[in-house]
């Protein structure tokens, strides 16, 4: 069916709640649908107990989701903007991520934390960030970052069924893209990348919005006879390094692309992991496409210039090919 990323997420939530009465949605404005309409319609079907509006108390509602998960529920917590996750990090990092480990396996925290990041809406530096690499640095969390509607639904279903805390990082600029999605979406396995376009000349590993930019760049490069393989890792932790390394073994060139700043970004992790796993396969240094190391500007021209896109991916592919040692 033709639908949107936003509707696919909402539908996946409804299906999970229908299938398992332990599933509940908690967050700010969830019964009203939230600013992106994701949870619209759920309260009418499932009631205010299971579609639970909360005060603007990110730390407490994250802790409540943790406690609820430890006492038999399957909470899906919404933190409206990933920028607000800063307020909940003690709960997520010190409590949720470590409960299983520090209790010697007595506890588990089967909760999902849905949030969204990304710039492009002139929302300024506190409503536009891409902070996923922070989360990837914390053992005990799983981190998924779907770029397509089908994966947003499939990964959410898998996350709800998962025994560990899973953070789902959606992207606000993708919510209203029209996409084709199967009528029945199977859970997408956590920890498996998707090869979205095959190619022989260079591999581009892109996250979230940058997947679509990479696909656009690949179309353009194909007109010049350059075939780019585009991989969406979908899951950042645990990372499907095998799929990426297998691709690099064939293409011998790697570009990593994300909207977050480069310094300490997830692209650095991919570059280092591939550098170790597939050093002999690389014909050129790995190129990173990322935002400049500064807060996201609010003024339209500055924000547009700040954000990496297809042009930057294309340039990076040409750079790795031109630097090729063979």
């Amino acid at each position: 069916m033709r639908t949107t990323y936003a509707k696919a997420v909402g539908r996946a939530l409804g299906e999970a709640m229908r299938a398992d009465e332990r599933v509940l949605v908690i967050g700010e404005d969830v019964s009203a649908g939230g600013p992106f309409t994701i949870t619209s319609g759920l309260v009418e079907e499932f009631g205010a107990d299971r579609v639970r509006d909360t005060p603007i108390s990110e730390a407490a509602i994250t802790g409540i989701a943790i406690g609820a998960a430890q006492s038999g529920l399957r909470p899906v917590l919404e933190i409206m903007y990933i920028d607000f996750l800063t307020l909940a990090l003690d709960q997520l990092v010190n409590m949720a991520a470590k409960a299983r480990f520090m209790s010697g396996g007595q506890l588990s925290v089967p909760m999902v934390l849905r949030t969204q990041g990304g710039a492009g809406q002139r929302a300024g530096a506190q409503h536009s960030q891409s902070l996923e690499s922070w989360l990837c640095h914390v053992p005990g969390l799983k981190v998924v970052m779907p770029s397509r509607a089908v994966d947003a639904a499939g990964l959410l279903a898998a996350a709800i069924a998962d025994p560990d805390p899973v953070v789902v990082v959606e992207n606000k600029t993708l919510y209203f893209r029209a996409e084709e999605v199967p009528d029945v979406v199977a859970p997408a396995p956590i920890g498996r990348a998707a090869v979205l376009r095959p190619g022989r000349d260079a591999t581009v590993v892109a996250l979230s919005r940058m997947v679509h930019e990479a696909l656009t760049a690949a179309d353009e490069l194909a007109r010049d006879g350059i075939e780019v393989e585009v991989i969406d890792p979908r899951t950042l932790v645990p990372l499907d390094l095998d799929t990426i390394a297998d691709s690099v073994a064939r293409t011998n060139h790697l570009v990593v692309a994300h909207e977050a700043v480069g310094t300490g970004g997830f692209g650095a992790e991919v570059a280092a992991a591939v550098g170790h796993a597939a050093f002999d396969d690389l014909d050129a240094p790995v190129e990173r496409v990322a935002a400049p190391f500064r807060p996201i500007p609010v003024s339209p021209g500055l924000e547009d210039a700040h954000l990496p896109g297809a042009a930057e991916v294309r340039a990076a592919v040409l750079t790795v090919l031109n630097r090729s040692v063979r």
């Binding site: 108390s57 802790g63 609820a68 003690d90 709960q91 480990f101």
Partner: protein, 323 residues
């Protein structure tokens, strides 16, 4: 309070006192590890609160949790082994002093970050409240212990609001020992009584002398009955004295030591002994037997824990994720 309850209370308090004093010595001989925060002086609160809970009732705590864990029913050998970092510990040696968990007895978590477990207790209470809708007779409650320092953390204010808004079956138990780490309460807040803070939310609150275990028992019984009946959350503030420093090894130079004679009067364990003997709940010989049994049990726990193996790196690697 009847004689049986009083004897049980005294037994739990002596077990905590003997355990904590032994842990203090083990810290000085480097047999227990990390940051050790003893609850000596607070035994009456832990024992009187947890003594009225069922295994299915949930308890969360903070960094000074040994007493709560013992009072909730955790076995002493496994608790001691956990403090020693051994594989036979409650958490297989992976939690340590500040992160004790004993799911079998409803002790679901403690944290080293002040105020961090208050919201989790609300989450557990939310699960219980949702079960109430569908389960006849379901009246499980959650209790969270925290110090007066945690009251100044944001999670406390956020949680008080939500607990009241959702009428959650949770009891907030503040052990107010007058010191947040090294600094007196007067330097942290102009509010003297924690129980005064929650009135606008309509939360039933009381302040009690935490050195008087019988008074804690009776006040908590009253609050617990309301929470079990579905009246919404309650807060109990127990005024206590932290006999030891913030942690073992703290030189404790920021306050004057309590005079021995004064402590003899206030000490909650000795006080319960005097009260119990006066009421005829037990006699001097029975009290002595309880004390000696507690010390013997702790020695046995130390022996058991010392023989417990160390956890392996393979165990640590296996506990990060469930799948």
């Amino acid at each position: 309070m009847n004689a049986e309850q009083a004897r049980s209370l005294l037994r739990t308090m002596w077990r905590i006192r003997a355990f904590e004093e032994r842990v203090g010595r083990l810290k000085r001989s480097d047999e227990v590890h990390g940051l050790i925060h003893l609850s000596t002086g607070g035994e009456g609160v832990a024992a009187a609160v947890c003594g009225q809970l069922r295994d299915g009732d949930v308890v969360y705590s903070g960094h000074r949790a040994h007493g709560h864990v013992i009072a909730k029913g955790a076995p002493l050998p496994e608790t001691m082994a956990e403090l020693m970092g051994r594989a036979g510990g409650l958490c297989r040696g992976m939690g340590g002093s500040m992160h004790l968990v004993d799911v079998a007895h409803g002790m679901l978590g403690a944290t080293g970050v002040v105020g961090g477990t208050v919201p989790a207790a609300l989450g557990s209470a939310l699960a219980a409240r949702m079960r109430r809708e569908s389960t006849e007779g379901e009246d499980t409650v959650s209790v969270v212990f925290f110090g007066d320092g945690a009251v100044q953390a944001g999670t406390f204010a956020e949680s008080v609001n939500i607990a009241a808004l959702w009428r959650l079956p949770v009891v907030l138990v503040c052990e107010n020992n007058g010191f947040a780490e090294f600094t007196p309460r007067s330097a942290h807040t102009p509010v003297e009584r924690v129980s005064d803070l929650v009135a606008p939310w309509g939360i039933t609150a009381a302040t009690v002398d935490g050195n008087d275990a019988v008074a804690v028992w009776e006040e908590f019984a009253r609050l617990l009955a309301g929470v079990r009946a579905g009246d919404g959350p309650a807060l109990l503030e127990a005024l206590t004295h932290r006999l030891r420093g913030h942690y073992e090894g703290d030189p404790d130079r920021y306050r004057d030591a309590i005079a021995t004679e004064e402590w003899q009067q206030r000490d909650p364990v000795l006080r319960l002994e005097r009260t119990g003997i006066a009421h005829g709940w037990f006699d001097t010989d029975e009290a002595k037997a309880v004390r000696e049994a507690a010390h013997a049990e702790v020695e046995d726990a130390v022996t058991w824990a010392r023989e417990s193996p160390w956890p392996t790196p393979e165990l640590a690697a296996s506990l990060v994720y469930g799948s």
